[in-house]
């Protein structure tokens, strides 16, 4: 399907067009960029919520409950589940997805999973493009949920306006969250499974960390208790999300972040496109394979070869 047709379909609210566009994004189809380029001016309206936290902290259930609550408040929703899959785990996470099924029958909710294909940076970029497509499609809220809570997930949720970091009572997991550097990006903390022992202690611990956190803006991340299984605490969570949205608008933070995000995105896009242009010229040529062999044999070094190939590439544009 042509990019134009796809754009038309997305803007008309056709779910199949949106689904197809996201597949094209995943497959790095060049037409996807063309479509996204046209759709761009229709974006920037959706509020993007990122949800991350250690496995087992109930992220999927929280997202399902949040979705139900947001629907009650007449918001339309897109959900992107970012799932760095592996040949070992194929389908292992289906259980989580099943909980979302009640929503997949609701035409105002669009759900999509994205897996790791190829390069890590590729996943962050694909997710960002998928969120953009859903934004153009017209959803009010886009929720990006990660499966794990590593540094790669941080990169993925950084695109969100409001980042929710989930945790559960118990002391093993928090250290991990700290190590992964996800604490710093939280706008709202959720301690889920509030029925478990140590829930209040975990809230106190997170608050204690926030007390010593550097660079806190005017928004101090609240620490909420939820029990996603029963639904307890979910309306309060959604209240906080709306409060955070309001804060972003009124404080001008939204604008500052928007500029920062536009800069980062532009630079990543240029890195990607420029590198692709160079590699397309090199890959598959005999000279390139020879150059690599020489490096492997220590007859040449990669630093010098990189400089040389770049210089040659830039000069070729002179001809």
């Amino acid at each position: 399907m042509s990019a134009d047709k796809l754009v038309e379909g997305v803007l008309k609210g056709k779910r199949r067009s949106l689904a197809r566009l996201i597949s094209m994004i995943e497959n790095e189809d060049p037409s996807a960029d063309e479509a996204l380029s046209t759709l761009y001016k229709h974006t920037g309206k959706a509020h993007v919520i990122g949800v991350t936290g250690p496995p087992g902290s109930g992220k999927s259930t929280i997202v399902a409950r949040m979705t139900a609550e947001l629907r009650r408040r007449v918001r339309t929703i897109g959900i992107v589940c970012v799932d760095p899959s592996s040949p070992f785990s194929g389908g292992a996470l289906l259980g989580d997805r099943i909980r979302m099924q009640e929503h997949t029958l609701d035409s105002e909710v669009f759900v999509r999973s994205m897996g790791t294909r190829g390069h890590l940076g590729g996943l962050a970029r694909a997710t960002s493009d998928a969120v953009r497509a859903i934004d153009a499609f017209g959803k009010d809220i886009v929720i990006v949920e990660t499966v794990g809570a590593g540094q790669s997930e941080v990169e993925v949720v950084e695109l969100a306006h409001t980042v929710i970091v989930t945790d559960v009572p118990g002391s093993g997991d928090d250290i991990q969250a700290i190590k992964a550097g996800i604490m710093e990006i939280a706008d709202i903390f959720v301690v889920n499974k509030s029925d478990l022992d140590g829930a209040d202690k975990k809230v106190t611990e997170i608050n204690a960390m926030l007390d010593i956190a550097p660079n806190m803006e005017d928004w101090r991340p609240p620490v909420l208790l939820t029990n996603a299984n029963s639904g307890e605490g979910i309306p309060e969570l959604v209240d906080k999300i709306e409060e955070h949205m309001k804060y972003l608008h009124e404080s001008g933070t939204l604008e500052t972040r928007g500029l920062k995000r536009s800069r980062e995105e532009l630079e990543k896009l240029m890195e990607y496109k420029l590198t692709r242009e160079l590699l397309t010229k090199l890959q598959g040529t005999r000279e390139y394979d020879e150059a690599i062999k020489k490096i492997a044999e220590r007859k040449d070094d990669p630093y010098t070869v990189a400089e040389r190939l770049i210089a040659e590439f830039l000069v070729k544009h002179r001809e």
Copy 2:
């Protein structure tokens, strides 16, 4: 200090020169590339061992014990601890490092920590360069140990010849390891804390996963039990490492992987250098800030702007 002096110091076995070079690598000092370029032909001799696994699986203790055993076998050793630190965790991991202190007094063991600075890809690259510097310095073995076990850690240990994935009895963690995609890169599995309940069960589980693993080469990753605290199982682990080294040499896998690694490294270097060249030209100019502002305001889209700026950059080399 000039790159030449530094290279001389490293090749003469001066620890201070090596330490300084690694600091320069961390700070992305351009002289580091110059030094590494000269040192490159002196590399390729060290066997690189990557150790990764969930937090709490005893990686640091295993590495300390492995080091002692390797020293007994008269090997010289470099250790790089990759530690994605965060403003919240400053110094929190010191405890782990203290266990290595017995070795820091041994002049045949060089220990170095590397933290996350800036971009994620930057850490993988810096680690790879640090390993190279230690290789040129003349250590027989370089051990790269990660603190966590996420996708970023996978990127870091992928440079190793032999990847050890650690785990502990209990069912929570393994799912996480699978999700992070670290199972696929293991050459040797270690189930540590063999004194805990469920150790044998964990070994069986990993073996069951290996039974259904696709693309297994001739080397089937062995699953070993260790108790790093008591030292039990460590000599057997080092035996397996040496067996794997031998396998890599004899099967030709070392050569194939060497070519693959050279290609990946060259491409990453070119991506980095080419992008830096472009961004150096753009950043700080008024036109560039204006372009970003227009994107943020949806008056222009990043895809088109990226193409335009790249075209302009390439054309400028014509003049």
